[in-house]
Symmetry: D3
Subunit: 135 residues, 6 copies
């Protein structure tokens, strides 16, 4: 038996793909136009899934008001209208690929929710490129 509740959110941010240890030439070779030193940006679309058991009392798996608040505080406030490389601590040392952003979002949300839940994160960088991370 498996029941999962999903909540969508979104944020708009600038980023560049870049490794400090590499030369500019190597960054351009591996990351192409995503490595533009002046940054580019995306409308990131996020779906957070919470898997667990239904509370027979309320008929909720989780109160969506709580999930919405956690996503707001852990993702929207720190990421929306930000430059991910310069303004999010984790991405000062970790390359902000869509894979790494999804892992960072997972880690932020999992520590705020009860450990009886399994969490999944689906993150769209564009409508054609996206990832799913399940911890």
């Amino acid at each position: 038996m498996s029941l999962t509740v999903y909540r969508k959110a979104h944020f708009n941010a600038a980023h560049r793909l870049y490794k400090e240890e590499w030369s500019n030439e190597k960054n351009a070779l591996i990351f192409g136009k995503c490595s533009n030193p002046n940054y580019h940006g995306h409308n990131y679309d996020l779906e957070v899934g919470v898997t667990g058991e239904i509370d027979e009392e309320t008929g909720f798996l989780i109160d969506l008001k709580i999930l919405k608040k956690v996503i707001y505080e852990e993702v929207e406030v720190p990421f929306d209208h930000k430059n991910l490389n310069l303004e999010v601590e984790a991405f000062k040392t970790v390359n902000p690929t869509v894979e790494n952003i999804a892992i960072e979002i997972y880690n932020r949300i999992v520590k705020r929710l009860d450990s009886r839940f399994d969490i999944s994160v689906k993150l769209y960088e564009t409508p054609r490129n996206f990832v799913v991370y399940t911890g």
Copy 2:
């Protein structure tokens, strides 16, 4: 090896979140504006998944005409343009949260299809809130 065929459908219904055993104050506290005694409503979007083996003869996992008919009879006829609390038997005693509606849909469909199939139900209450139930 896993192959799943999906069929979408939709229905428009009114509901309210409400527990008879609770006071109006407690209903309002826990369910907020979803507990409006005059009801509100949604365009519910449904995706039913059927997992099984391909029939080498036809190249179908399941004839979609059959799946479409089952969804029509078990979900669209009883739920579309209805008040879920007042007009669907199950929700006279069970709170029609999106979780419970998905479970009810699952139970209705699974009893109509061959037991060699595994069934999943994805139900959108709004484009931003949805659940997946797999029995």
Copy 3:
């Protein structure tokens, strides 16, 4: 020359199509299952368009924060999670067809914005049925 800025919003509501002057039979004949006395509901999607001239100083036609606030106060607060027939004054006497809801929204928004703007309202009752009203 024409420049229009659009802002989307949404609300979830219950309604029924019904004319008090008509018998139940005539209501059922004309409005079909939309006339269910127990109500049904929709996720209404709204696009408000504002046509005018660009402010050379800011590069804005209208500050979207203002438009968003007007839509919130005039549409989302009074309509979201409500029963339109019972809880919105206008629809106690006017049948809440998608046409009449769009006209009501138009009238509410136009009186809050500067008369130099032309307003349009696009309202989806379902993804397949919608109207555009331009005053």
Copy 4:
């Protein structure tokens, strides 16, 4: 731990459902209007998922430029603007149901990517009918 990267693509093609061993009557009975001898067609939407481990060096699970190139060469070039029954070798003997097309796409892609990856194929024949195949 599970991380999956997805890439979308699409192709437009003609097909008919048809078994040579069957009479025209039996084809019409089983496949209905999908068996029209003059063909009909679809805009097929494809999502290819690649599951594996992140490369700590780049922050990529797979370089999407490579995945995009594989999908282009293995699916878009041979399938786009083609008659699947007449112009794709596999479907001269296999009925081009959406199930069989997804399996064919899976087999083409899996042989081009490193065996450390798990592959999934989601194929939409229409926005309401789709399949997922995971090998």
Copy 5:
């Protein structure tokens, strides 16, 4: 004052772009892969708009059941799961470009509705290519 009601529908069809008066080489030069002699196909998405005045009695501009029936009889029955070049009379002599298909749909619908209405047809050949025709 302008009020327009829209109804969506869709059909799946095969076609090729082709002018009989031209050589195969010229057809291939002008129409490219759309001229494949074996046909290709699309999921066509259609939005029919009807502009007029609201009926104060019902609150409807037009009864959508009527519009839905006209679209079904004039477009879905003759076009869905068909080869447009071979099975729709108009396209035996007129090239079935998305422009010409939209004009044909307009002409079929306009003759079925009251002349007090203005009709518009929006037709998507793919999610990225579409036309609007207003007579």
Copy 6:
């Protein structure tokens, strides 16, 4: 009589709203978080409409291959994966609001197409905020 052909495209870019003549405080007051000095970004979705008469010879209003090429050269190459403020000449002096970006795109496209056509530009900054400019 009116016939319009539309072609969609998209680009991902960074920008900030900012007027050099204003203090940082005034920029922050008027443009809010859109004025972040480190930039933020968007997936811009673009629909270009071309209104004109059908070419009876081809059945095309305009060859979409030509329109696609113009959009690619005038919008995608100069804007995609760029910082609009720093790397697009026009936005060194003009504030890159969605209104001004749409006007710039219009001006670039109109000078490349035959003057017998009327052009419209619809530009989405997010799925909820967009503009239409018709010259």
